[in-house]
Symmetry: C2
Subunit: 122 residues, 2 copies
């Protein structure tokens, strides 16, 4: 998490309007890595399989090398895992997020004071 | 804009999951300030008046002081302008965005090299 204080706004980073990799996709990469499966990751993130698949397909097309490799079939059904490129993209994204957030931690805390308690729920 | 290079990913910052102020709302504040009208701002941003109004209403509730003051009626129809609180929130948001982006400019440029030309369209 960008902030350790749950009642403060958190920084999130989007890469461009097309969002080649943003917070939602980064979380999806993390969850696929943890579960080893697109369908299990989708369930855990409360999104449809179709939506998870579309996000992954978009990432695999936007990056020079695919971020996720899926295998289909077999007795246990298909599995999915991050490729080396996927691990690298995710590591770099998290590093950028952390560094950018740290650079403005004081300003973010001060900004939160402009909000009502409800406005601070994020 | 966060980057002067149109083909590079841009950083955008969201404040929390509830997003009291994010890139879309910040742009809306800018456009209301420029046009002096919610309906003109909505047109310019290709969003419905209803959506613009809902975003503004949410901001006015999430912040301790309203960010936009709207006046209705009169010969020329209603107008809208940023309050002092609105100008302050917007100024602080842009400052945070700029500082955070500058802190990771090199990492963002390197990240862009992972993307295809299409993935860099954002």
């Amino acid at each position: 998490m960008a902030s350790e204080h749950p009642n403060h706004p958190r920084l999130r980073i989007l890469m461009g309007d097309a969002v080649a990799l943003g917070p939602g996709k980064a979380d999806l990469l993390d969850t696929v890595a943890a579960t080893g499966s697109i369908s299990a990751a989708a369930r855990e993130m409360n999104m449809s399989y179709r939506r998870a698949w579309k996000l992954i397909d978009a990432m695999n097309r936007d990056f020079r090398r695919p971020l996720i490799a899926a295998s289909s079939g077999g007795a246990g059904g298909g599995g999915a895992q991050l490729t080396d490129a996927g691990r690298e993209a995710l590591r770099r994204y998290r590093s950028i997020e952390k560094k950018a957030t740290a650079s403005v931690a004081d300003e973010i805390a001060a900004f939160a004071d402009l909000l009502t308690d409800d406005g601070n729920r994020g």
